[in-house]
Every structure is written in structure tokens, then in C-alpha cells.
Symmetry: C2
Subunit: 123 residues, 2 copies
DNA sequence: CGGAATCCGCGCGGATACTG
DNA sequence: CAGTATCCGCGCGGATTCCG
């Protein structure tokens, strides 16, 4: 079974930008083009590997453009496509909502992900 | 290390509703209160277990309200809180964006997730 | 009907090392 | 600098079973 099509627009949208850090990448690229290393430093808490993979997916989705400058040292710039810009436009209100309610969200986050539950790993 | 706070509002927002099907649940609850079984049938492609877990997280986030009616047969109704309503409000444009570009998104989805790569797992 | 519990596979994602 | 490749843990999430 190939997992039927999207059930609604929200499903599709979340699927394309809901990845762990894709939203963040899109957000920062919305501010302007960034090089790979700049992204790595800007989007904190992401490994090189993940950054590459996420970028490739965003590129495959047509949201991000990858500009390679063949030179030494190598330089690769990532930027939003028109499609990508259309997305962050509707992402704006969401980000603002998150900002306005950040305290509340952070507080409840601990309830959802106790993080250090672990402990008793008695076999 | 406890994974520092959210880096921006978008980060927080996606974290709270970016789960596999949380957006869908929120979306359908936005249409009105639903019972557990109704949600299970409405949000297609989700297991009982996941539906329960996702609902608990949404509840812990203060987005969803869980109303238990102690009776036989049991009846539990889920609905959006005020907070939840404020979220789906900004989620509206995102869902619309996804709907408008669904074909494009579905097409590029295959490039990102070949889905049936292996499959044939002859036991 | 609405869950909670258990088992378990598998793929996400981190760390590291190597290349052009 | 900008990746790619490999290893590997662990937690997400599906299937099944039992309970109130």
C-alpha cells in the first residue's frame, strides 16, 4: 500500500515543512540567502548530516534553491524559491502565534517530553 | 543537557502541532467536538495507540479538552480549547496553502519519500 | 466503547571519519 | 568549506491483547 494521498491541505503542508527543523531552516532562509556553514551555525542543534538531508528534501519540494559556486574554497548558497516565499508568508502568523505563547508552550513541553525519564533501566 | 528553549516562535509552534498527525487532529476538531471513535475514523491512517498518545500531548499542551462521560457505553469527547482555537486560526492559511499547492506537493513527495523502496520482505 | 499495556521492527537522527 | 559515508542507538509508531 502506498499510503494514500494527502487527506487535506494541512496534512500536505505539515508533511513538507513539519520535519524536525525544516521550519527553522525555512524561517532563517526567509531572512535572506545563507551558505551551508551559516545555516549550520544559525539553525542550532542540528547536525551536518541532518542539515544536508533536510535541505535536500526542501530542495526536492521546490521550496529551496541551491546555488553552487565552483571555486575554492567551495561556496554553496541556499535561498528560498518563489514557492518557498509563498510558504513562509503563511508561516508568519504561525511563528507569531508561537512567539506570543512561547512561555505557555515551553511550560507544557515538559509535561509532554519529560526528557530525563529514563533512569530506571532495570532489565 | 536539556535541549535549550525554543529558538523562535515557529520552532515552538511546529513542535506543538508538527507531530505526525497532530495537525490533522486539530483540524478536524476545529470543525467541532468529536468522540474517540469518530476521530479514529476521521483521521485516517492512524492507529489507536498513536491517536491516544497524540491526544494526550495535545491535551497536555492545553490545545485540546477531554470530556469524559462516565456511562455505559463509555463516551469521551474531545474538543478544542480557546488556546486550540487560536492555533487553528493561524493554521487556516497554512492549510489553504497546502490545498492550493497539493498537486505540486504530492508530486515532489515521491522524490523525497520513495515509500515502497524495499517492501518485498519475503520471510 | 475507550483506552492501557506489551512486543518489536525499523527508520530517524547523532557522532565520527573521510573526500573534493 | 561543503559535503558524503558508515556505524549504531533509541525512540517512534504499528499490531495485538486485555481491561473498565
Amino acid at each position: 500500500m502506498q499510503r494514500q494521498s494527502y487527506t487535506c491541505g494541512l496534512d500536505a503542508a505539515i508533511d513538507v515543512m513539519g520535519g524536525k527543523r525544516k521550519g527553522l531552516i525555512l524561517f532563517w532562509l526567509g531572512e535572506g540567502p545563507l551558505r551551508f556553514g551559516e545555516l549550520r551555525r544559525t539553525v542550532t542543534g542540528i547536525s551536518e548530516r541532518m542539515l544536508t538531508l533536510q535541505l535536500r528534501e526542501l530542495e526536492a519540494s521546490g521550496l529551496v534553491h541551491r546555488e553552487v559556486h565552483h571555486q575554492v574554497p567551495p561556496k554553496v548558497e541556499y535561498s528560498l524559491t518563489e514557492f518557498g516565499h509563498s510558504l513562509i508568508e503563511v508561516l508568519g502568523p504561525l511563528g507569531q502565534w508561537g512567539e506570543e505563547n512561547m512561555e505557555r508552550l515551553e511550560a507544557s513541553r515538559e509535561a509532554r517530553g519529560p526528557a530525563g525519564v529514563s533512569g530506571s533501566a532495570a532489565p
